[in-house]
């Protein structure tokens, strides 16, 4: 498909407006990530926030892309999940 209808999630997210919070509002317990086999957060997140870095054995959290849907919160008990601070985060304008 054309550039006007991007296929990659990063390009889709690029169209969105965010007021990025200075602090990360998604805090997984990394010690639990080490033992986690399923890594469901990396699958169900609609904004590809979570990526498991195999070399560093660490879950990277690109919280600035978060759409605040809460899917990871429901899928995993080990993420300390909060909303971004007042007025921060994603701003849907056409949805």
């Amino acid at each position: 498909m054309s550039e006007k209808l991007p296929e990659k999630i990063e390009d889709k997210l690029f169209k969105l407006k965010y007021k990025t919070d200075s602090q990360c509002h998604l805090n997984p317990d990394q010690s639990k990530c080490l033992q986690c086999l399923e890594k469901t957060c990396t699958i169900i997140c609609p904004a590809n926030v979570y990526c498991y870095n195999e070399t560093e054995n660490k879950l990277t959290v690109s919280y600035e892309k978060c759409l605040e849907c809460g899917a990871c919160r429901i899928a995993c008990k080990h993420i300390n999940w909060e909303y971004p601070k007042s007025g921060k985060g994603v701003q849907f304008k056409k949805s």
């Binding site: 169209k15 969105l16 169900i44 899917a71 429901i74 909303y83 007025g87 701003q91 304008k93 949805s95």
Partner: protein, 434 residues
């Protein structure tokens, strides 16, 4: 904790300025009581997306002047699209008498308009305000704690959406299971208005609401949507979180697959992505309803998981439940009693309305359908196969083709499965009609 005083106390606080919250707040203001409507986004709608429509009956009940609101298009056509890998069958319903039953909006515009109406009617609106927690004293909700301050009220109406951390905090809601939540992902794609009219067969700026099953969605419990705005088209899908997990499917990749199906691709060709969004949908139905009230608080809309997933109804449940909560708050203020003894009236109102009556009717339907997920793909394929034979003229006699089709119908799916499908269909009908 600060002490409650004249400056930081109001009659009612509503948390969340979506359809439920704004309906609750405006109802309280119309009863000449003080109400503060709190929203964490920096404008109403900033955090909201939907895959649906606004139903006129609910809009009319809360905002009788709703026809002045920023409506994209009234829905004139409902289409159901049954897809196979490349082909599809569409059933469309049009009824001139129903042309104003529902309308399509974009949330940032419409939610903002609703809040403006509410402000004009006396609601005090506080955007950019995240409620961190409810203030509870001796088991009774008495206010909210935000990033910066504490604020007190006789009644707090919780309308903070599907995740409702507040209802969870006070124990009204338990943790939700993956299978009871759907992920909604959606792309709004820009197209010229006249191109939309032409592709969807619409005239006079009327709109189309389309639901899609099968084909690229067949392996998961998922349903696609396509709705027409004035000069853009919303293409999205709702899919069970549990199925995403089990199938290791990313929601945006599933949407990408759906967009590539020829039926969808033709509709959005040459369009331009305006916005991608995602939101959860509470789909647990009646069996997952939380406790709807406690001393000093009531839960409304998505926060109360009030959604009829079979009929794509949620915005109307939100608005009417908000209105009922507002009415109940007024009743409590009149009697100066904010305990469950009075707030249970909210539940009674819901019980007597279409909201809980419908949710009760459908309480087992989704469970039955979920268990038969794989049948949707099977029958979608069979329907399209049949119509392919029916519509193809190729100089080959028809009898052999139909015989092969009939044979495959009973051999490609085991008799036990076919029997279970039939049983499920009867069960669904029985559940609705009993």
């Amino acid at each position: 904790m600060l002490q409650e005083n004249q400056q930081n106390k109001t009659d009612v606080i509503v948390v969340g300025a979506g359809p439920a919250g704004v309906s609750a707040a405006v109802t309280v203001a119309r009863g000449s009581k003080n109400v503060v409507l709190v929203e964490r986004g920096n404008f109403a709608g900033a955090k909201n997306m939907y895959g649906g429509v606004i139903y006129s009956h609910a809009a009319q009940e809360v905002f009788p002047n709703y026809k002045e609101s920023p409506i994209e298009r009234f829905v004139s056509t409902h289409s159901y699209v049954i897809m196979s890998e490349n082909d599809s069958t569409t059933v469309s319903y049009k009824n001139p008498a129903h042309k104003e039953n529902a309308f399509i909006i974009t949330r940032a515009n419409w939610d903002k308009w609703c809040v403006e109406q509410a402000i004009n009617e006396g609601v005090y609106y506080a955007p950019n305000t995240l409620v961190k927690e409810l203030i509870v004293k001796e088991g009774k909700v008495i206010g909210i704690r935000t990033d910066v301050e504490e604020y007190y009220a006789d009644v707090v109406i919780i309308a903070d959406g599907v995740n409702s951390l507040l209802a969870k905090q006070i124990g009204l809601r338990k943790d939700i299971k993956l299978k009871n939540v759907f992920m909604g992902v959606k792309e709004v794609i820009k197209l010229p208005s006249e191109v939309i009219d032409q592709r969807f067969g619409l005239i006079n700026q009327t709109g189309c609401a389309m639901e899609l099953v099968g084909g690229p969605l067949k392996d998961l419990f998922a349903m696609g949507i396509i709705y027409t705005n004035k000069d853009s088209v919303a293409v999205g899908l709702g899919v069970s979180l549990e199925d995403l997990k089990n199938n290791k499917t990313k929601p945006y990749e599933l949407l990408e697959k759906m967009k590539k199906h020829p039926f969808v691709a033709d509709l959005i060709q040459d369009g331009e992505l305006l916005e991608y969004s995602a939101h959860l949908i509470p789909e647990g139905g009646y069996n997952c309803l939380p406790k709807l009230y406690t001393d000093g608080a009531m839960v409304t809309g998505d926060a109360a998981m009030l959604v009829n997933n079979v009929h794509f109804e949620g915005t109307n449940f939100a608005m009417i439940s908000g209105k009922y909560a507002g009415e109940t708050a007024l009743e409590a203020l009149a009697k100066n009693d904010f305990s469950q003894n009075i707030l249970c009236l909210y539940k009674k109102k819901l019980d007597n309305s279409f909201i809980l009556k419908d949710l009760r009717t459908y309480k087992n339907v989704v469970k039955t359908l979920t268990e038969r997920t794989n049948s949707i793909g099977y029958y979608s394929n069979k329907l399209n196969e049949f119509l392919e034979i029916f519509t193809t003229a190729d100089g080959v006699e028809k009898k052999g083709k139909f015989q092969k089709f009939a044979k495959h119908f009973f051999t490609k799916r085991s008799l036990a499965e076919l029997f279970k499908d039939g049983f499920a269909a009867v069960k669904v009908m029985f559940d609705i009609l009993k």
